[in-house]
C-alpha cells in the first residue's frame, strides 16, 4: 500500500507538472513579416514567435498555405503591418484557421499601421492606379520614430493579452526604447551625406526610409504599383537616369534585379540591393543591425 500511495504521489506530481507546464506554455505570436517577428522577440523574449514571411518574399503575394493556417490556429497574437498589405492572404488564413482569438484588433490582432500616421493616404482608389490602398503605405518599419510608437502599442497589446508577464514586457520595452533612442541620432548623423540625394527605386518599399533621410525617389521601376517593370517603362527611365543627378537604383531584397540591372547598364548608375527586413542580408540579424546595414549600403554607394 505504501508503494502504491507513493506511485499515486509520483503520478500526481507528474500530472501537476504537465498541467502547469501547459498553463505556462509559451505565448504564441504569428508575425506577418520578419520585422514584426523581430520586434515581438525584442518585446517579449519568452514568447514563441513565428514569421509567416522572410525578407526574400514579397509580403503582398503570399500563399495562404497549410503551414500558415496551422500556425495561426495556435496563435495568441497576430502582428502585421496592416494598411491592407496583407489583404490578399490574411483574411483567408483567419477564416481557415478557426482561431477566434486573432480575428479582431479588439483581441489578438495587431496592425502596426493603426498606431501611426501612414504616408500617402488616398481619398479615392481606382484599380487603374495600380495596386494601391486607401490606408496609405504599409512599409512603415523604416521610420525609426514611427516604429518606436508601434513598439509602445505592441507592448501594451502584449500586456493586455498576457497580464501575468506585464513586468517583463515593461522591462523589455524600456530596454528597446533606450537602444532605439541611442541609435537614432547615430543613424541620422551617418545619413547626413544622403540628404537631398535622388534615387530611382522599385515600388514604394522604402518610402519611409527616404522620407526620414530626405532622399528623393524621382522615379519608380514599376509603371504602376504592383505591376512588374516593363521594357517600355524602363526605356522611358533611361533619359531620366542619364541626367546626372541620380545617386543609385535601389531594389529591395525580395525584388527582381533584372529591370534595375538593365537600367543600370544603360545609365551607368550603381544598382544597390537593400535588405527589406531582418534576414534580408547576412548583416541584418535584428532590427538595429538591419538599420545599420541599410545605412552602410546607401552611404557606401560610389
Amino acid at each position: 500500500m505504501r508503494i502504491n500511495s507513493k506511485k499515486v504521489i509520483i503520478a500526481a506530481t507528474l500530472l501537476a507538472g504537465l498541467v502547469s507546464s501547459s498553463a505556462n506554455a509559451a505565448f504564441n505570436v504569428f508575425a506577418c513579416e520578419p520585422e514584426y517577428a523581430a520586434l515581438t522577440e525584442a518585446l517579449a523574449p519568452n514568447a514563441k514567435v513565428y514569421s509567416a514571411t522572410s525578407a526574400l518574399q514579397d509580403p503582398h503575394q503570399v500563399q495562404a498555405r497549410p503551414s500558415l493556417i496551422a500556425k495561426m490556429r495556435q496563435a495568441d497574437l497576430v502582428v502585421c503591418a496592416g494598411a491592407d498589405l496583407e489583404i490578399g492572404w490574411l483574411p483567408m488564413l483567419q477564416m481557415k484557421a478557426s482561431n477566434n482569438k486573432v480575428l479582431s484588433t479588439d483581441t489578438g490582432l495587431f496592425y502596426a499601421a493603426e498606431h501611426i500616421e501612414t504616408l500617402d493616404q488616398l481619398t479615392q482608389v481606382d484599380r487603374s492606379m495600380g495596386d494601391v490602398h486607401a490606408k496609405g503605405n504599409p512599409h512603415l518599419h523604416f521610420d525609426p520614430r514611427k516604429f518606436l510608437k508601434v513598439a509602445q502599442a505592441l507592448s501594451a497589446k502584449l500586456t493586455e493579452l498576457d497580464p501575468s508577464s506585464a513586468a517583463e514586457y515593461q522591462a523589455s520595452l524600456a530596454e528597446f526604447t533606450e537602444q532605439w533612442q541611442q541609435a537614432i541620432p547615430r543613424w541620422e548623423e551617418k545619413a547626413q551625406q544622403l540628404k537631398g540625394k535622388k534615387v530611382i527605386a522599385y515600388h514604394s518599399s522604402f518610402r519611409y526610409l527616404f522620407n526620414w533621410l530626405a532622399i528623393e525617389q524621382v522615379a519608380d521601376l514599376e509603371p504602376k504599383p504592383g505591376l512588374p517593370p516593363s521594357s517600355s517603362h524602363l526605356a522611358k527611365l533611361v533619359n531620366r537616369g542619364q541626367q546626372g543627378d541620380i545617386m543609385a537604383i535601389v531594389v529591395a531584397s525580395y525584388q527582381d534585379e533584372r529591370g534595375a540591372n538593365w537600367l543600370g547598364e544603360r545609365t551607368d548608375l550603381p544598382v544597390v540591393v537593400v535588405p527589406m527586413s531582418v534576414g534580408g542580408n547576412d548583416q541584418s540579424h535584428d532590427l538595429i543591425s538591419l538599420y545599420d546595414s541599410v545605412l552602410t549600403i546607401l552611404t557606401e554607394v560610389e
Binding site: 497549410p66 503551414s67 496551422a70 478557426s98
Partner: protein, 399 residues
C-alpha cells in the same frame, strides 16, 4: 432562376453597393466586398462532358458580395449568370453563413456553398489555370459541386496542418437519372467526410494531401430490363448544359494532392504548381429485384465502377506569363437497355496565359480530346481563347 425583373433588381442592388464601396474609406472585411468576374471565350469546337461549346460565348459571369456580418458570422452571396441557347440564367452558387468565433478550432458553414471534398472543388472556376474543369469534375461533380446543406470543420492545433470536416447536403444535383419520374429520393441525399494534411518543405516548397468520401443515397441508378435502347437525347442531357453530375454512384472516393514551389517562397516572380486528383465512384447500378433475367447483369457488372483522374502542372515563369499542361481520363459506364457500355474520355491540354496584372488574364488553350463511345463532340483538337477579369474587391485565393 430568376425572372428578368428580379434579375435587373439584383444587378441594380449590386451597382448601388459597389458605387458606395468606391467612396468607402475603409475597404477592410468589415465593409461588404463586392466583386464581379468577367469570363468570355472563343472556342473552335465542342468539348465533351458538358464543357464549353463552339464559337463565341460567355463563361460564368460571377457577382459576389461578402462581409463579416458581426463578430460571430461571415456571409457570402455569389450569383452566377450564364447564357445558354439565348437564355440568360441566374443561379445562386453560394449563399452561406460561416461561424468565425467558435472555440476549439471548430467552424460551421450553412446555406448553399461549395463542398470541401477534393482539391479543386472548393475553389472558384475563374481561379483555374485552364478554361474548363478536368473531365473527372465534369463527369462526377457537375463541374463543381455546390449544394444546400451544412458543414462542420475542425482544425487541429498542430504544426502539421490537419483539418477534417463532415457535410450533409440535399443532393439534388447528384441524383441518379430518373427517367420515369417515379423514384423516391431521400431529401438529404449526400453526406461527405474529408481530411486534409499539409505543410512546408524548407522555404521554397509547400504541400497538401487530402482524402474525401462522399455517400450519395440517391446515386445508384436502377436498371430495368428494357428491350429498346435508350433514346439518343439521353446523351444530349449529358453533353449539353447541366449543373448536375453526369455519372453517379452510391460511394465516391477522392484522393488529391497539391505541391507548390517558388524560389525562397517568393511567389511574385515565378512559381510552380503540381496537382492531381483521383476519383472512384462505386456501386453505380442496381437492378430490379423481381426481374427474371437479372443474374446475367449482376454476374458481369456488379463490380463496375466509374473512375477519373487528372494531373496538372502550371509554371508561372514571370509575373506576366504562365504555362500549364494537364492530362486527364474518365472511364464510365452507360446503361443501354440490358447491357452496359464502357466509355472513355482522354484529355490532353496545354495552356498559355498572359496576366497583365493580378486582376486580368488572357488565355490560349489547346485541347486534344479522345473519346471512346462518347457522343456529343466531333473535333479532337480544340483551341480556346479566353479572358478572365476581376472587378472590385477580390477575395484571397486558397492554396
Amino acid at each position: 432562376m430568376f425572372s428578368s425583373n428580379k434579375r435587373l433588381t439584383a444587378v441594380a442592388i449590386a451597382c448601388a453597393f459597389s458605387s458606395s464601396s468606391v467612396f468607402a474609406e475603409d475597404s477592410s472585411l468589415t465593409n461588404p466586398n463586392i466583386s464581379a468576374v468577367l469570363d468570355g471565350f472563343y472556342q473552335s469546337g465542342d468539348r465533351g462532358l458538358g464543357g464549353r461549346s463552339e464559337g463565341f460565348g460567355l463563361g460564368e459571369t460571377e457577382l459576389a458580395i461578402s462581409a463579416n456580418i458581426d463578430d460571430m458570422f461571415y456571409g457570402k452571396v455569389t450569383a452566377i449568370l450564364e447564357v445558354h441557347d439565348g437564355d440568360t440564367e441566374i443561379e445562386l452558387e453560394e449563399a452561406f453563413i460561416q461561424t468565425m468565433a467558435m472555440p476549439g478550432g471548430f467552424g460551421i458553414r450553412a446555406g448553399r456553398f461549395l463542398s470541401d471534398i477534393g482539391y479543386l472543388n472548393n475553389q472558384h472556376i475563374h481561379t483555374d489555370s485552364f478554361s474548363d474543369r478536368p473531365a473527372a469534375y465534369r463527369a462526377f461533380m457537375g463541374g463543381h459541386y455546390f449544394d444546400d446543406g451544412v458543414r462542420l470543420t475542425y482544425v487541429a492545433p498542430t504544426d502539421l496542418y490537419w483539418t477534417m470536416g463532415i457535410e450533409a447536403f440535399s443532393g439534388e444535383k447528384m441524383r441518379a437519372e430518373d427517367e420515369h419520374d417515379e423514384r423516391d429520393f431521400n431529401s438529404v441525399g449526400v453526406y461527405s467526410a474529408f481530411t486534409k494534411f499539409g505543410g512546408d518543405i524548407g522555404y521554397s516548397s509547400s504541400w497538401q494531401v487530402g482524402l474525401s468520401y462522399l455517400r450519395n443515397e440517391n446515386g445508384k441508378t436502377y436498371l430495368e430490363d428494357e428491350h429498346e435502347p435508350h433514346a439518343d437525347d439521353d446523351h444530349d442531357d449529358h453533353e449539353g448544359h447541366s449543373h448536375s453530375a453526369s455519372y453517379t454512384g452510391e460511394n465516391t472516393y477522392i484522393a488529391d494532392f497539391v505541391y507548390k514551389w517558388a524560389p525562397n517562397g517568393n511567389y511574385k516572380y515565378q512559381h510552380l504548381t503540381v496537382s492531381g486528383e483521383y476519383f472512384r465512384v462505386s456501386d453505380i447500378f442496381s437492378f430490379e429485384e423481381d426481374h427474371d433475367h437479372e443474374h446475367d447483369l449482376l454476374s458481369t457488372d456488379s463490380d463496375d465502377y466509374h473512375q477519373g483522374w487528372y494531373l496538372s502542372s502550371v509554371y508561372q515563369f514571370s509575373p506576366n506569363w504562365s504555362a500549364g499542361i494537364r492530362y486527364g481520363e474518365v472511364d464510365t459506364f452507360e446503361a443501354h437497355g440490358d447491357h452496359l457500355d464502357p466509355q472513355k474520355l482522354k484529355e490532353t491540354e496545354l495552356s498559355l496565359a498572359w496576366h497583365y496584372s493580378h486582376f486580368s488574364t488572357v488565355r490560349l488553350q489547346y485541347t486534344n480530346q479522345q473519346g471512346t463511345n462518347f457522343d456529343g463532340f466531333e473535333d479532337d483538337n480544340i483551341l480556346t481563347l479566353q479572358y478572365v477579369m476581376t472587378l472590385g474587391a477580390h477575395g484571397a485565393h486558397q492554396f
